[in-house]
């Protein structure tokens, strides 16, 4: 991937999705505010980060999910299972997109359509829940109240341009210049730009304190273009932009003082007649004539200008409304188009409410500052504290009552000491509290950092000044643990080097031997051996250290199961309790990854065919709710994972019958097999077919696939079952696959490696004790008959020359659950090697699992025993 930012985003996004997903499941179980906060934080962060990339569908979908969560958090919406389903599905879709991003760096082509469907669903719940207007930049339909502040000529031009019209505001965030943004350029390039107002977001700092790299502008613009075109144009700034589609009628905003002159009545009568007769040119002339004799700032003048501009084109209704606005036939501050311009001449109740809420908050912040200043502090701290307070007050200014803001601003312009500032903050504060009954409660909402003077450092200020859903996700999300996110390939490379070092150091042992042989200097040989011991120790520590990096808790694999179990359960109408144990057990990442798919298979099987429906369970005298236990533990160098259910178990008789019918076993074998062995036949390839799935409660589905996957990773799997009480599948896997301990054996003068794991023991068997039963040689080891295989024969090598020795060296190997004796010419040293798989021309070679490089530079073939026996 060329885009490093995207490369960073992908694992982060996955992590956030996982957080959100597991949080949702936890939330469904118990309504905890903490879990909800976690989910919200994850989704919010994801939305924020996704905005960096050209993936608008993803951002929009996450945004919709976030809006839904906001309502849930506010208690306006209860989290029904359907909503959880919807949210989980949306997260899945996002996960799917992330996969696509990773492989192709773009979203799939159908992303836009898929997003639209999901967003409609999510927003549907939002509306059904009686939620307030959504925060989607496009969704809100009311015309913004700043529309009237745009130049009248621009509005008239837009009216003439007609729909689609979009009014949008854009507040580039303070640090946007650092990202290379040029907001003015973005605005200038907006499609169909007709009207614009540029204003400061807050008081402009004086030139002495001015910081040229901070952005402080707000743009209010009017475009004759479809919303889609604009949101596409502004996609990189979508979180700083608010888009509202407006109708041409919305643009007629009349402001200014009333003119009480009587002539307006006459004009009204005449104008109505002109509109009725369609004499538009005369209407325009009449309006122009009247305009020339009245003051241009009045509301009537504004209406006249609109009439003059629109007379030629507008429909009669619009013109009549304008005429009414002039002669006062309709009362009210915005009579021109009352149904369309509700929020202009007087602020609507909603926006007034928002304003006063902001004002209350600002006052609460000021009160907190006052309280903080009242705490005595050391002289050294005082200056910084005062500075911090000043900054906070300054930031609050735009949201305060105008008179108060002015007074404070004037005070701030002079250098003030803490006492003065305190005095300034206090009295108005008290007045405010007295004036607004809700004041005291808001003051409690933001308690002052009373006892902690450190809280007064500026760093503590921004969170308080920000909106409640500000950057808190980022701040609290970073835990105390310091983590590195490293590409796995880098660790793998390191691992390979460490392993090669382990192998290379073996060369020193050879060297020591050679020195003794060639120069005859035992002293030098011993010294080399001492050095070898030191390097050996370090190399092993290094290897252990690198392996520890690759070790992951099993929870990495287990964490997907709560979701899987829940979904499957809901689909099947069963009730299952999932119990997870030992998720802290660690294993190599590759091993865990090889385990993931088989585990899913097994869990599905257990749910689908193991655990019965509640009715069946109750009939069998079991609790209606089944239990599925997933457990992990470490045993020596192995991880043991068990999937156990308390379902109906597997009937060995059914398995026996099936195995006989398919021809897996002969009747003789069947008679000798213990029930335990019989149930394990479900792992045999060819045991399960579609038809048998239904007969056999489907326990055999893909179990041979499971076994193959596990064996490939160097492990094994077996099953234990008790009819009516449940079954348990046990998977055993090596902790790590990186370094293999092998023993070298000799056959016909050639050396081969055998993985130590497979070797049970080595014995010397006198020739006299080797017996031939039918075609096979066998010998008896501790009362067990063990078949013998001669390695030289299996490999097709010529038998060793000379007389055969009196005793055969036999390596007893475990193959699956059987033991086989392998006759070799002799055993050589044990060592740790990296087994490299055969590739290229050798890839198809049967009988070898790979090659390893020896300390003296030779290549050793490592045998794959199951192939040979």
């Amino acid at each position: 991937m060329t885009n490093t930012l995207l490369a960073q985003f992908i694992p982060e996004a996955r992590e956030l999705l996982e957080h959100a997903g597991s949080g949702l499941l936890a939330l469904e179980k118990s309504q905890s505010a903490e879990a909800l906060d976690d989910i919200f934080r994850a989704v919010h962060t994801l939305k924020g980060t996704s905005g960096l990339f050209d993936i608008a569908p993803l951002t929009n979908l996450v945004h919709a999910a976030e809006d839904l969560l906001v309502e849930v958090r506010a208690g306006k919406l209860t989290l029904e299972p359907e909503i959880v389903d919807g949210l989980l599905d949306s997260l899945d879709l996002v996960g799917h997109w992330i996969d696509a991003l990773e492989s192709r760096a773009v979203l799939p082509d159908d992303a836009e359509a898929a997003m639209a469907g999901r967003v409609v669903t999510l927003r549907g719940w939002l509306d059904a829940g009686g939620a307030a207007a959504s925060a989607d930049p496009v969704a809100s339909q009311a015309a913004p109240d700043w529309l009237g502040a745009l130049p009248e000529a621009a509005r008239q031009a837009a009216y003439l341009a007609g729909a689609p019209l979009v009014a949008w505001s854009y507040e580039p965030d303070e640090s946007c210049f650092f990202r290379g943004d040029d907001p003015a350029h973005l605005v200038a390039q907006a499609p169909g730009l007709l009207g614009l107002r540029v204003l400061p977001r807050g008081p402009v700092p004086p030139l002495e304190a001015y910081d040229p790299v901070l952005s402080w502008l707000r743009f209010e613009a009017l475009c004759a273009a479809p919303v889609e075109a604009l949101s596409e144009h502004l996609r990189y700034a979508s979180d700083q932009v608010h888009l509202s589609p407006v109708t041409p009628e919305d643009l007629i905003v009349l402001a200014g003082p009333e003119d009480e002159a009587e002539m307006f009545g006459d004009f009204g009568v005449r104008a109505r007649a002109l509109v009725a007769t369609g004499a538009r040119a005369e209407l325009e002339a009449a309006a122009a004539a009247l305009l020339s004799i009245i003051g241009p700032a009045t509301r009537q003048a504004a209406a006249l200008r609109w009439i003059a501009a629109l007379a030629a084109t507008a429909d009669a209704g619009a013109l009549l409304r304008l005429v009414s606005a002039i002669d006062g036939a309709e009362p009210g501050p915005a009579p021109a188009a009352p149904q369309n311009t509700p929020a202009v001449a007087a602020p609507s109740p909603a926006s007034a409410g928002a304003e006063s809420a902001l004002r209350q908050r600002a006052e609460a912040i000021l009160a907190a500052q006052a309280e903080m200043l009242a705490v005595p502090a050391e002289a050294g701290l005082d200056a910084g504290r005062l500075e911090a307070a000043r900054t906070v007050v300054q930031r609050c200014l735009p949201h305060l009552a105008p008179a108060r803001a002015e007074a404070l601003n004037a005070a701030l312009a002079r250098p003030v000491d803490a006492a003065t500032l305190l005095a300034l903050l206090r009295p108005a504060d008290d007045a405010e509290l007295a004036a607004e009954p809700t004041g005291p409660s808001t003051a409690v909402l933001r308690p002052a950092p009373k006892a902690d003077p450190k809280a007064a450092v500026p760093a503590a200020v921004p969170p308080a000044a920000e909106s409640p859903e500000g950057r808190d996700g980022k701040l609290t999300g970073a835990g105390p643990a310091r983590m590195l996110r490293v590409d796995q390939a880098k660790v793998d490379t390191l691992m390979n080097f460490a392993a090669e070092l382990v192998v290379a150091k073996n060369g020193l042992a050879y060297l020591a031997g050679r020195v003794e042989q060639v120069s005859g200097s035992r002293q030098l040989g011993r010294e080399i051996k001492e050095q070898y011991a030191v390097i050996d120790r370090i190399a092993q520590s290094l290897q252990v250290g690198v392996m520890a990096i690759r070790m992951m808790p099993v929870s990495q694999v287990f964490q997907r199961f709560p979701r899987l179990v829940r979904d499957t359960m809901r689909k099947l109408g069963k009730e299952v309790e999932l119990v997870i144990q030992g998720e802290d057990t660690e294993a190599d990442k590759n091993v865990l990854e090889s385990l993931a798919d088989p585990l899913i298979h097994m869990v599905r099987n257990a749910l689908d065919h193991g655990i019965e429906t509640p009715a069946e369970r109750l009939a069998a005298g079991k609790p209606g709710r089944g239990t599925l236990r997933l457990s992990a533990r470490q045993e020596n160098d192995n991880v043991i994972i068990e999937v156990a259910d308390d379902g109906k178990g597997i009937d060995p008789e059914v398995v026996r019958e099936k195995a006989l019918r398919v021809g897996l076993i002969t009747p003789d074998q069947a008679a000798q097999m213990a029930p335990d062995e019989i149930v394990n036949l479900v792992f045999a390839p060819g045991f399960s077919t579609k038809e048998q799935v239904s007969d056999l409660s489907g326990r055999g589905v893909g179990m041979d696939v499971v076994r193959n996957a596990v064996r490939k990773a160097g492990g094994d799997v077996w099953l234990a079952s008790r009819l009516g009480q449940g079954s348990c599948v046990t998977v055993q896997l090596p902790l790590t696959m990186a370094v293999t301990r092998i023993v070298t054996v000799e056959a016909s003068g050639q050396q081969y490696g055998v993985a130590m794991d497979a070797v049970a023991e080595t014995v010397k068997v006198p020739r006299s004790q080797i017996h031939r039963i039918k075609q096979r040689e066998t010998f008896v080891l501790r009362d067990a008959v063990i078949p013998l295989v001669r390695l030289a024969d299996s490999l097709g090598l010529a038998p060793a020359s000379g007389t055969p020795p009196d005793e055969a060296a036999v390596m007893v190997a475990r193959i699956g659950r059987e033991r086989v004796g392998i006759v070799v010419d002799g055993f050589r040293e044990r060592m740790e090697v990296i087994v490299r798989p055969l590739d290229g021309l050798l890839a198809g070679l049967v009988g070898f699992s790979g090659t390893a490089l020896l300390g003296d530079g030779r290549v050793l073939l490592v045998l794959n025993l199951p192939d040979l026996v």
Partner: protein
């Protein structure tokens, strides 16, 4: 150079990027009665526009385009010459 100063005359020309904001601010701080000549300027970055809006020096020339024109509309116009 997009930014040149000659006495009280500050000339912005060509494409002024965000880099010009700081030197322009310094120049305006140092010369409170400066006249900024934008006749030869093709585009001013937002940061530059902001500095001009904050310092409000007299302007010579007008910029093409709705956005810069709106931003700088309130600035006084310097007399010709």
């Amino acid at each position: 150079m997009p930014l040149e100063q000659d006495g009280t005359r500050i000339v912005l020309s060509g494409h002024c990027s965000v880099e010009e904001a700081e030197p322009l601010l310094d120049a305006l701080r140092a010369t409170p009665d400066a006249v900024v000549d934008v006749t030869g300027a093709a585009w001013l970055h937002t940061a530059v526009l902001q500095v001009l809006m904050a310092a409000a020096p007299a302007l010579r020339g007008r910029l093409e385009g709705l956005v810069p024109a709106t931003c700088l509309a309130v600035l006084p116009v310097a007399e010709a010459g």
